[in-house]
């Protein structure tokens, strides 16, 4: 690991000014970044630690219809704080990696990194979340730009994420047991009649919404409603853990399971 300086801001504005420096990078829980520093995939000259910024920590249940999570909030905190108000989100957070990863890893780090197999992108897309940064609000539909790519500018910070609470929801994660990420994960959410289906782990373009399944489920929210659908394996990830056809298959199976569990 190359050496670096570090800054410990206590407010978002201090962090944003520190991140404006050439070679500066934010450090959330470090669960992704520290391993990348070790193998020199990242070599910032300044690390800006977010853990001391109180306004970026914690979980609020806003007006009973949204869960608002600070960008530097750990997965473990979300798992316990959202358990009553939004159990599907709490379950997702409580099944990321393992307990030690959940005690350090953060929502902001997960969304900023946008790993194609990460869990939070599915929840953000399926609920129509809003990702607030130090200078704007980005809707989830505009945020994800493909594998490890997001709408964030260099040095832009995720300060808060607002997840609207659906009337019914469920997350199904088919775990890749070695990495503990999702081989495929499907988040289904229903707001009134409108169903939303977001898939992670499957596509080479990162998490996405499955439009045909959403249309079918908005007309009839039952697993039978998607039984005639199929999803193309083109542009699905293929690696030693599963072929693209297998991932396409899992997408449909997990969607049906999520609908059954949510209804």
């Amino acid at each position: 690991m190359y050496d670096f300086e570090f800054a410990r801001p206590t407010t978002v504005s201090e962090a944003a000014s520190a991140l404006a420096a050439e070679g500066a990078q934010a450090l959330g829980g470090g669960q992704t970044l520290i391993p990348s520093l070790k193998n020199r995939l990242a070599s910032p000259s300044l690390l800006v630690i977010l853990a001391g910024i109180d306004e970026m920590r914690g979980v609020d249940i806003d007006a009973g219809d949204s869960v608002v999570v600070g960008g530097a909030t750990t997965h473990a905190e979300v798992a316990s704080a959202a358990a009553d108000s939004f159990p599907a989100l709490a379950w997702l957070a409580g099944n990321i990696g393992d307990p030690a990863v959940r005690n350090r890893g953060t929502v902001g780090g997960s969304l900023a990194n946008n790993d194609p197999s990460a869990c939070y992108p599915a929840a953000a897309l399926a609920t129509g979340a809003t990702i607030a940064t130090n200078n704007r609000k980005i809707s989830a539909d505009d945020y994800f730009k493909g594998m490890f790519e997001s709408a964030l500018y260099e040095g832009e910070l995720i300060t808060k994420v607002r997840f609207p609470i659906p009337d019914a929801a469920n997350y199904q994660k088919f775990e890749q047991p070695a990495s503990r990420f999702a081989l495929v994960g499907v988040f289904v959410a229903r707001f009134g009649q409108e169903a939303r289906v977001a898939v992670t782990g499957a596509s080479e373009n990162g998490a996405f919404r499955w439009a045909e399944a959403e249309a079918a489920l908005s007309a009839d929210f039952s697993s039978g409603a998607i039984s005639d659908l199929s999803i193309s394996a083109d542009e699905m990830i293929r690696d030693l853990h599963g072929s693209s056809t297998y991932r396409a298959h899992l997408t449909k199976v997990l969607t049906a399971r999520a609908v059954d569990a949510a209804s």
Partner: protein, 159 residues
């Protein structure tokens, strides 16, 4: 260099540490607490699990200065001069270790689990140990050891 103040197994430490020094390396090299093992150094195996502020973390995936102002507990703090801690004793009694490389991390994860959930089911024990890999035991005896600690603590509490 950064000045850090932390409490490790009840003893205060105050001194200089390089910014890029991992907590695992700081414990092993600077404090000579070599009970914390480094297996993968990539956050996968859990051999390096310690408690920071009462929570299980992978010390290979955290900088020493991130623990500034906090209490750190390692495997060295589980035993006193005379005897093993109850989790360690149960691992010995249940034959829950063979080479012992994973054991410090297993014991620290087990301690965190039992703090959070004093009476876990076998499924909850296995789930909690998801990030702790053991290449020797096949896990059954580890689960048995942890269950026996929970039972013994419960009957000691009830007595």
């Amino acid at each position: 260099m950064e000045t850090v103040n932390l409490i490790v197994n009840g003893s205060a430490f105050s001194g200089e540490v390089e910014g890029r020094k991992l907590l695992s390396d700081f414990l092993r090299e600077d404090l000579r607490c070599t009970g914390t093992h480094v297996g993968c150094d990539t956050g996968q195996c859990g051999a390096c699990v310690v408690h920071v502020g009462g929570k299980a973390v992978k010390s290979c995936s955290m900088f020493a200065w991130e623990a500034d102002g906090m209490e750190v507990a390692t495997i060295e703090g589980m035993a006193d001069e005379e005897s093993l801690g109850d989790i360690q004793q149960a691992f010995q009694d249940s034959h829950a270790l063979q080479c012992g490389f994973c054991t410090p991390g297993m014991v620290m994860s087990a301690a965190a689990l039992l703090d959070e959930n004093p009476n876990p089911t076998d499924a909850e024990i296995r789930d909690y140990l998801e990030g702790n890999l053991c290449r020797c035991t096949g896990y059954h005896n580890i689960v048995k050891a942890i269950r026996s600690v929970a039972e013994r603590r419960a009957s000691a509490g009830a007595a």
